[in-house]
């Protein structure tokens, strides 16, 4: 066999390996292309149209829907609610998640029970969480007003209290996710590190800020990304708990999009809001990837 023949058969083997890999991937790629990629392109196209099926209206409008949104106070209000909800929820979840993880790590017994109690909140369907909190927030018979000493706050009906109430429900539901990620990272830290800190006389606060938090930096960064993306696109909880009310104080972009799409039946406008949510999510993901690279956190 000549050297040239050897290279030829190696090239053929390489080609065959590529073909096999593609064949294995084909069903998954085809599914994703049909159910994710194609709808993504389609929604962009829909957002450029004026479509109101009940009136038989369907025509190309260019950027008309986006121009409308740019001056639509309801859209800007929804954007503001979305950002406020995301910032507050994510900040509280990260802070609470770290504390819960440190508490779990310190347990000598019962950590499995504690973890189960935490995961319980995370495992429930979000619609169930919404129903749980609707009942907890009940003005007359709700446990929260009772625990506050028998006050008669109308949590979900008061424009000042509805968003904090919604954020509380979201934090309850997703803090365990952050806690579990951090806890798993903490388990990988040798106990000697903490024993050494204790011998050096480091207090609880110093241990947290000097040892625990730096070690959690990377996982917290990842949790921050996951939670931000989830909060930006979340829909179930506000849709079922408050329906965006009262007076639009909990109407996020996702709820606004849904209402435009299926209640006002303005497919074009609703799609445009959906595209805005999509762009926001991708922007955050992109910024995260950049920060990750510049900070050298990819280890």
């Amino acid at each position: 066999m000549t050297a040239g023949g050897g290279a030829g058969s190696a090239g053929r083997a390489e080609r065959r390996a590529r073909a096999r890999g593609l064949l294995l991937l084909a069903p998954a790629l085809l599914t994703l292309a049909t159910l994710t990629l194609y709808p993504t392109i389609w929604v962009g196209w829909l957002s450029l149209q004026r479509r109101m099926p009940i009136f038989g209206v369907s025509r190309f409008e260019g950027l008309g829907n986006y121009a409308f949104l740019a001056t639509d106070p309801r859209f800007w209000k929804a954007a503001q609610v979305t950002v406020l909800f995301t910032l507050a929820s994510v900040a509280l979840e990260l802070a609470g998640g770290v504390l819960a993880a440190v508490a779990l790590r310190g347990l000598r017994t019962g950590s499995r029970i504690a973890l189960s109690l935490l995961l319980l909140a995370w495992a429930l369907p979000s619609v169930v969480t919404a129903k749980l909190f609707e009942w907890l927030f009940h003005p007359a018979a709700g446990l929260i007003n009772f625990a506050l000493g028998g006050v008669a706050l109308n949590w979900l009906g008061d424009p000042r209290l509805a968003l904090p109430g919604l954020i509380l429900a979201d934090v309850w539901r997703t803090l365990p996710f952050v806690a579990v990620l951090c806890y798993a990272r903490l388990l990988a830290i040798p106990a000697e590190v903490y024993e050494a800190a204790q011998l050096d006389g480091a207090g609880a606060v110093a241990t947290l800020t000097r040892i625990t938090l730096p070690l959690l930096r990377r996982i917290l960064f990842i949790a921050l990304l996951f939670r931000t993306l989830d909060a930006l696109r979340s829909f179930d909880l506000m849709f079922v708990l408050t329906g965006g009310g009262p007076a639009g104080t909990t109407e996020t972009l996702t709820v606004y999009a849904y209402r435009s799409l299926f209640q006002a039946v303005q497919l074009g406008l609703g799609s445009a809001v959906g595209v805005v949510v999509f762009a926001l999510v991708m922007l955050v993901a992109w910024a995260y990837l950049r920060a990750l690279r510049s900070q050298g956190l990819t280890a």
Binding site: T31, T36, L46, L107, I113, A114, L119, L124, F262
Partner: protein, 276 residues
């Protein structure tokens, strides 16, 4: 001295456990509500009921809505899990072991796919389901759920596959085993924990999914548990006890899975989060 310290540690453990128990109160309160007699629901205090009753569960199970919804959720969840795992397993194996052209781009698309907001694709998918005459069928939900579960499954399984050395299969090939045989007898057993994690997460997400299910269903024929719960009927007053009972029924499968399979869940979440 050491004895006293151990005692102090135990007290601290009990305190921490109590805090975690308080954290779970919203759930236990709903559980208690589901067992309270109707007449005592709207009166607080007292916190504890005079007796426990199963009347709310009976009321919920006598209506067909919730039973049908539980059946629909199980069916859709199980088929979605099988479909996503089947497609995802071969896809992940292809990506992890073969020199697929455009691999970097595909990986980016798959990671991006896990972050896709459903609200952006719900309108075209709705039009697609309508065009295919799939509204109000299991198939519509299975396809929609697979679309968001599949990227996650591929991503998870790739991580697990990369931990299995390719040399194992090469050694098997030297010994005369074909690639499918090596896959079946060497890779698959080692991949079992990864498959369990992926299956668990897919079933959970499918069980909890609301937006697609709410949009693509119209009747009991395909309504899933979250939809039935969100649309829970109340004629004149909100039936809090019945809603609480229905919430508990909706929570049993995810709770059993998550608490029973904790190990796989934590591993799945971690390997999804810890890779770049």
């Amino acid at each position: 001295m050491t004895h006293r310290r151990a005692g102090a540690m135990r007290v601290r453990d009990w305190f921490v456990l109590a805090v975690f128990l308080v954290y779970a109160i919203p759930f236990f309160w709903q559980l208690l509500t589901s067992l309270k007699p109707e007449a005592e629901l709207m009166v607080l205090p007292p916190v504890l009921p005079t007796r426990l009753t199963g009347e709310h569960y009976r009321a919920v199970l006598e209506q067909s809505v919730m039973l049908r919804a539980l059946g629909n959720s199980f069916g859709v969840g199980a088929i979605t899990t099988v479909l996503a795992l089947g497609l995802g397993l071969f896809g992940a194996y292809g990506l992890a072991r073969y020199p697929v052209p455009g691999k970097g781009m595909l990986l980016l698309l798959i990671v991006g796919g896990t972050a896709f907001p459903q609200i952006a694709t719900v309108s075209p998918l709705y039009l697609l389901m309508r065009a295919l005459d799939l509204r109000d069928t299991w198939l519509a939900l299975i396809l929609a759920n697979t679309s968001f579960a599949l990227p996650l499954v591929i991503w998870l399984l790739m991580g697990f596959l990369q931990e299995i050395p390719a040399q194992l299969e090469e050694a098997a090939a030297v010994d005369g085993a074909s690639r499918p045989r090596a896959f079946r007898w060497i890779v698959l057993p080692l991949l079992a924990p990864g498959l369990a994690s992926a299956a668990l997460l897919t079933f959970l997400f499918s069980w909890n999914e609301f937006l697609f299910a709410y949009t693509f269903t119209a009747t009991e024929a395909s309504r899933t548990v979250p939809v039935a719960l969100a649309l829970f009927p109340g004629v004149f007053e909100v039936p809090w006890g019945d809603i609480a009972a229905a919430s508990m029924l909706a929570s049993v499968p995810p709770l059993v899975l998550v608490i029973g399979l904790q190990r796989y869940l934590v591993r799945g979440l971690l390997s999804g989060a810890l890779r770049d």
